[in-house]
Each structure stands twice: as structure tokens, then as C-alpha cells.
Point group: D2
Chain length 266, copies 4
């Protein structure tokens, strides 16, 4: 499923990492998980080993084995497997990027190191360039999630700098509520895929032209969000809003139950 220049659009489920009761990764259920996403939730794109997949808390070896399983079982059933390869250090990120390419992933993504942080925006661009260069054939997406990394550079400014520097750069997973920054990315950099990452207010990003959405709730609310996208694209904002509000009521309940554990319970 090599990325053949087609744009990354629509819903992309940020997959959970199935685990055994004693917290070992459980590869045996991934095929079943893929089939559930495709058949039950009509999801054809997945973002693995991200925040929802607890990638940053897994070992490099665990992340590689997961990548291999997702790619193997998604082949022929899904359009794109995007592998999150970001770590706190450059060498691990490059290692995971090269590995993702070697086993046929469709794209890679990386969050910014957040313990020791880049000193400025240029240092971040340099880091992303290094990571992307370890898998030059794969489209690269920057994973922007200031709520967890504390890195708050304007993505609109980042995109201006990556254009000349990172040939494989394809877009951003934008997990933030600053919709002016998001909107400027969409309107000023039409060559990049702007994928929104705050599920509970996706409709706001769609209003600003979001190309797609990456999130954990599409694992179990794929159909509902698909209906919202469809209504929105058909110009029926009333219907799209109604669906999003019903999703918000559900998510308000889930968040109240301490979001994270709540999400995995589905």
C-alpha cells in the first residue's frame, strides 16, 4: 500500500495497543481488530503506536513487532497504515522510521521530543528532517500535540520552514484547539494534508477545511463520525452538527470516567 501521491483523507483510527492482563502487547488479536475496523466501523486508514497506542511507553522492540503485525494484517484490506515513530531521542526515531519503511508501512509520523525539548523552531525542523530522512520513500507527518509535549510553535510557521527542507513531508496531525493556526495551514499550504486530532470538536476543523481526522474515538465511533463527514460534505451542516453533539454528549461521559481508561473500555 505504498503512498502513491494520493492524499490522506477521511477518518483515520488511532489504534489502541491490545495488551494481555499482565501488560504484554497482545499481537494475536490485531487481525481481528483490523477486520472489526474495516467491516464494523468502515475505517480504511490507521495510525498505530501513537498516543492512543501508548507508543511512547513501549519499548522499541514492542513497537517494531506491532508495526509488523498491523502492516501484515492491514495489507489488502486497508488503504494506509501510518506508523508513529517519534521517541524522546533521534536515534530511536530514525531506527523506527527505517523499520517502518522496511516492512511496508504507508507513511510515518513523529511527535516532538518533550523531555529535553528543541531550543527553537529551526531545531525542531532539523530533528524532523533527520527522522524523515531515515525513510525517504515514506510520506512524513508531524504530530502536533502541545497538551502532552508542551511544544507550542505555530504549525503555520513550521510548514513554511519544512517546504524546502523535508522532501517527504506530507502534512500534520493537528491535535490542538487553536483553529486559527490550523486554518492558516489549510489555506496557505494546499499541498499538505491537514488532519485534525481533537475528535470532540472535529466539526470546527471541518469548517476550516480539514482534509481528514486522526483519533481514538474512530475505533468505536467510526460509523457515526463517517455519517457526520458525509452530511458535512453534502452541505447538510444541521445534520453534521446534530451527530457531533450526540458524540460530544457520549465523550463528555467518557471523559468524566477519566478519559483514557474510559476509551480502552470500548
Amino acid at each position: 500500500m505504498a503512498f502513491t501521491g494520493k492524499r490522506l483523507k477521511g477518518l483515520i483510527a488511532a489504534t489502541f495497543t491490545p495488551m494481555t492482563p499482565n501488560s504484554d502487547i497482545n499481537l494475536l488479536v490485531i487481525e481481528q481488530y483490523v477486520d472489526y475496523l474495516v467491516q464494523k466501523q468502515h475505517i480504511r486508514n490507521i495510525f498505530v503506536n501513537g498516543t492512543t497506542g501508548e507508543g511512547m511507553s513501549l519499548s522499541i522492540c514492542e513497537r517494531k513487532r506491532l508495526t509488523e503485525e498491523w502492516v501484515k494484517h492491514a495489507r489488502g484490506k486497508m488503504d494506509n497504515v501510518i506508523v508513529h515513530v517519534g521517541c524522546l531521542g533521534l536515534s530511536d526515531s530514525k531506527d523506527l522510521a527505517a523499520h517502518a519503511a522496511s516492512c511496508g508501512a504507508d507513511a510515518i509520523s513523529a511527535v516532538c521530543p518533550s523531555f529535553l525539548k528543541p531550543a527553537n523552531l529551526d531545531a525542531l525542523v532539523l530533528y524532523l528532517k533527520d527522522v524523515a530522512s531515515a525513510a525517504p520513500s515514506l510520506p512524513f507527518y508531524y504530530y502536533h500535540i502541545p497538551k502532552l509535549t508542551g511544544i507550542t510553535y505555530q504549525i503555520y510557521e513550521l510548514l513554511g520552514k519544512v517546504k524546502e527542507n523535508i522532501p517527504s513531508f506530507r502534512g500534520v496531525k493537528f491535535s490542538d484547539v487553536n483553529l486559527m493556526d490550523f486554518s492558516l495551514c489549510v489555506s496557505e499550504y494546499k499541498e499538505f494534508d491537514c488532519l485534525y486530532g481533537v475528535d470532540e470538536q472535529l466539526l470546527g476543523a471541518l469548517a476550516f477545511g480539514a482534509h481528514g481526522a486522526v483519533g481514538s474515538t474512530y475505533n468505536y465511533l467510526g460509523n457515526k463520525n463517517g455519517d457526520m463527514l458525509e452530511a458535512f460534505e453534502a452541505g447538510n451542516l444541521q445534520k453534521a452538527r446534530k451527530i457531533q453533539c450526540s458524540l460530544q454528549e457520549f465523550l463528555y461521559f467518557v471523559f468524566d470516567m477519566a478519559h483514557f481508561s474510559g476509551s480502552k473500555a470500548n
Copy 2:
């Protein structure tokens, strides 16, 4: 221009406070300012002495004289003059609320005290109840601006508590980027006016059903934003987005010039 139960909709300019070179309030230009807003920007509602009007940095006496001038010159020309009466202390806020009612303001609003903060949501509701009770005939709007106050209670939860407690409560000036909270307010409390306060991403709030918008940029971009609202209400999201993006490019430049001074320069 007493509030006759009609809803507060559309654009509401958060007025600047005109000042003389040595920082005294300049009441002489307010009539001219009202005419400019009505004739040049087609603005028929104003929110005075708010953040844009530097109300919190003015003395009580200055705020009262400003209120009187705005009400006097807006009479017969504008639909609503909303007076921000919030202070760091209760007695001053109640004083300004009673005064606003006495001189014919159409509604009042109050921000949450932010130096010594309420201990919890119930304490905030009690405070708002006290302020509103000083002008029981005037519709009351809570001014939510966590970026400046540090008060981050969910407004969706606040609205649930004010319903039984504050008869004159009419809605919220929502100056935050959490559109899930905003959306739940709109969908769950249809009796309240949900006015969005982050001009640069208004389109996102419109997608969630915002009734109106209060902001500083409507002082000089009233027409442009009016065109956006019109396009949006006509179902032409493409056109609405195009206008909002052009506004964002301008505001990106203004913000870069240290927002505040930039805004007053127009």
C-alpha cells in the same frame, strides 16, 4: 433600548476606550465612534468596558462615565449596549451593575474575579448571582476568558447550575478555544445566548451553532465579518471560509505586531 426578551444575535463590537495622549478617557469622541460603528461597520450591538475597553484597568468613576456616554449616544441608533461590570471585588461589580441599569444599559456582563479566585464552581455561581441581583431587570451574561482569568470551569456545567439560581441569566461571552464545551452549551441550553469571543476562529463556533460573536476586531472588520455571517447563514461555507481565512491573515499580521497595541491602531 431595554432588552425585550429578544435574543442577542450577530456581531457585537467590544469597544476600545478612547483615551487622550496622557491616558485620560476621552468621552468627546464616543458619539463619533458610535456613528462610525453603525454607519461604516453596520454594527448595532456593543460590549463596553470589557477587556478591549480596558475596563478592568479603569477606575469605577471612569467606567460609570463611559457607560453613560455609550448609552446616551447609542440610544436610537443601536439595538443593545452591554456593559461589562466585572471587577476583582463583589461590591464594585454590584455598584457598576446597579449603575448600568440606572442609566439604561440593555444588558450587563461580568468576568470572574481573578486575583483571589472563587474556591469552586458553586462559589463562582454565588458571586454571579450577587452581581446579577444588583440589576435584576437587566439580562446577565457571564464573561468566560480563561486565558486572562485562569478560571477554567466548564461553562456547560456552569449553565446547569445558574438555570435555577440566576433569573436574569441570559448567556455567555465564550472567549475560549474549547469548542466541545461551547457546543454542549449551545445544544443543551437552547434558552441561553452563546456568543463566541475568539474572533480569529469564529467560523468554528458558527459550525457549532454560535448565536453571535463579541470581539474587538468587529470595530474595524465589522463589514467583512458581517459578510462571513451572511455567507454562512446562506449555507455557503466555501465563501464564509474564504472570508475568515483572509481575516486570519490580517490578524496574524496584527498579532505579530503585539496584538493589543496593533488593534487600537485601527
Copy 3:
């Protein structure tokens, strides 16, 4: 009790503002309060209308009446009455500063406006200069409390700028845990009084040469803290530490009871 160039040293109680059950200021008990501080807690300096005194939540009129009562009843019994005159706006602060001077206060202090904040350190210095100039005969102390104002300029850098600009500048009430900044103030600007404002870790500031301490706990733990200062000045660090630890255990309990209400209960 005009400030005759002597340094401000030792314990300074940040007084509570006595209130009646319906939250009116209660001036009738201030004389009794002064006598209690002098006779029972051996406190000879007070800092009125500060954070502990809820000054920022009171009206200008209430603050003036309190100032008059504290000065009247402290006269002849105490060495110094320092009046906090800071407000969110310049005109109110200057009004309170001039009033404090007119009724015989010994010094004034002002916090930085925290709703609309100064754009940079120079703007803050200009503001303080203006406030101090409204009471040129009174020593002026900057009240640094980043936890509530969000203003985090290094005081060491502020002192470098005020030296030439504010003739009546005498020092700082330093309510922050950055002891490197505090220490550099003490060692580099020997002409200024560096008064520490985090009661629970006063011993740390004493180690860096703090001249005195302003705090709410000295209202009811004046004697105990006096013993600590005495032990410290006598070079008995062991004993000073023991006293501070016993105070910390008590304050840990008070903080657990929601600090503020806890403090007023004493």
C-alpha cells in the same frame, strides 16, 4: 511614624481584613487587632490591604477607610504600617498611594496589574514609577507574587532598572520560591530591603540574607517565627530549623484545609 531611612527588618504581619458576617469590613476590631499583634505576637510592623487582607477584592473606599484605621491605631504602638496600594489600574493605585501618604502611612507597596499585564519589564518599571510618584515621601516596595499575577520577571533585573528611575524605591516583598533570584537581589543591591513572602520556607531565604519577612502566618505565629529569627541570628541553625519544621507541619495541616479559609480561622 515617618520612615526615617531606617531599614525594614524582622517580621511584618500581612494583616487579615476583619469582616462582619455579611462581608462588610469591620473597622471596630482593628484597635484590638493591633494590640493583639503587639502584645501577644510581638509584631511591630504590618502590611495592610495585601493579598491576606483581600485588598484587591475591596473597593477603593473600603481600602482607604481600612488604611486610616490601621494607621490611627498603630500610631505609637508599632514601627511601620505598610499599605498595599496596588490595583489593576494606574489611577486607582495612584489615588491609594496619595491617600496613604496623606494619613501617615510609613510605606507603600504595589503588586503588578495582572488582568491586562505590562508588555515588558520596562513597562512594569514605568508603572511602578508612576505609582510611587503619587507618594514621593513614602518608601516604595514592589510586591512580587507570580503565583497570583503570572508576572515572572526576574526581580534582580527589575532592581537594576529601578535604581535610577524611582527615588523612593526601598525594596521588594518577594513572594516566590526562586531563591537564586532572591539571593542575587540581596547580594547585588545592598541598599534595598529584601523581605521574603513565602512563610513556610522562610529559613531558606534567611540563609540567603533576607532582611525580613512579610506574611499572613505572622498574625498568629509571630512569637514562634520570632524565636526562629532569634535562633538563626544567634547562629543556632539547628534550633531555627527545628522551629521552622514544626511550623511547616502546622501549615501543611492548614494548607490541606484550603489554605485561605484555614488561615482566617485563626
Copy 4:
């Protein structure tokens, strides 16, 4: 150099990780580095692969090779080699802990995972228990650095919970400015080593009974800080303060030069 129950006291240099121009770890200079610390800075304890050593940005393999080199070259010359084994995930941390024990480290330490954070204090204690259990023979130190992790639990409360749960728990590297929390740890848990981690205000922690100090500046200011400790222990606070102030002036300059790069330049 097995930890024979003696307390960890005095200065502990948080070592830098020597790197080649193209950012590979440079093991060849570690022996020379150990000799420099022992002979030139009179440092006999080191904390490797911590924040200063950029441990969190290195691969597991790099951290293991560094541990082996430090232990090999410190043997017979230094008293203690403490290895930071904390990672964002449990399995990696346990892997590094077991490795550190296998190659003769004297103690281990771990920071709290900071991308996906523990839900509460009990979850953190459980995590630390798991990490420590991978090297049950080695003393375990919790590395508290809220400025980078965002984890702000009171260590005084953590120590109360670890006592019964983690047999090998020996103390805390306390890299925070909350000296009340630090002081309560020292006074309430005499069985634990409380090592202070904010070099620039060490004197404040000494006043509260700090047993030792772990920091990057002891790499090149070991002698000077040694003199400060000596003066302090001899009861000469004046001299100790003078030394600390001179160190602060130097560090103020270093911090101004963007701390990190500044520190490595020495």
C-alpha cells in the same frame, strides 16, 4: 563499590554524556572524565544518564554502554555510581535497572514517565515499585523534576507511601524549588537521603538539612561547592553564602547563554 547501607552524602556530579561531533556517544573519554572529577573537582559520586547526561534522549543500548563505562572506570576511584534508569515506559526502565545491577552500579534512580503520566500518586508508587524490583539489591532513588515532567505530587506524601512498598527505596533527587516539601521530607523521613537538585539555590536546601546535592554544575564547580558545604558544616553561614552568591553570578551568566549549551561548554 556496592552500597553498604552507608548514606549518600555530599556532592554528586550529574555527568554530561560526552559526544562526538556527529552526536554519537563518546566512550573513549570517560576514563579521563572520571579522573578529572576525582582529581580536579574532588567529586567521589556521580549520577549518570540523567537530564544532564541526556539519558532520556539516548537509546537503551547507548545508555547500557555508558553505564558499563562509567562503572568500569569509576571502580576503585569513586564511592558511588548512581545510574538513572527512568524511561517513558516500564519495560525499558526495568531492563536498564536490571542491567545496572548486573554491571555493578551502586544505586539506581528513575524519573516519572511524563508523556503518558500516572493517573495518581498511587499509580506512580506502583510504577516505582516495579522499576526498583528489577534491581532489588540496589538502593533506589526517585528523581523528582516537575519542571520537565509536569508531575507535581508532594514528595512528602510519596515517601509516606513508599516506606512499606519499596524495600530498596533510599531517597529522592529533589530538583524543585518547593523547600517546604523538601524540608518535611528531611524532618519526617530521617531514614531517607534527601539530595537537592537545584544547584543555584543549594544553600537554601542545606538550611533545611539536605544530605547531599546532585547537579550538573558540580562537574566544573565541584571544588567551589565543596568549599561551600565545608563552610556550612562548620557553621560559617556567612562564608557559605558568599560562595553561593559568587556561584549564582556565574550561573546567571551561564543561564543567560541558554543554560544547556552553556553548561556543556565547560
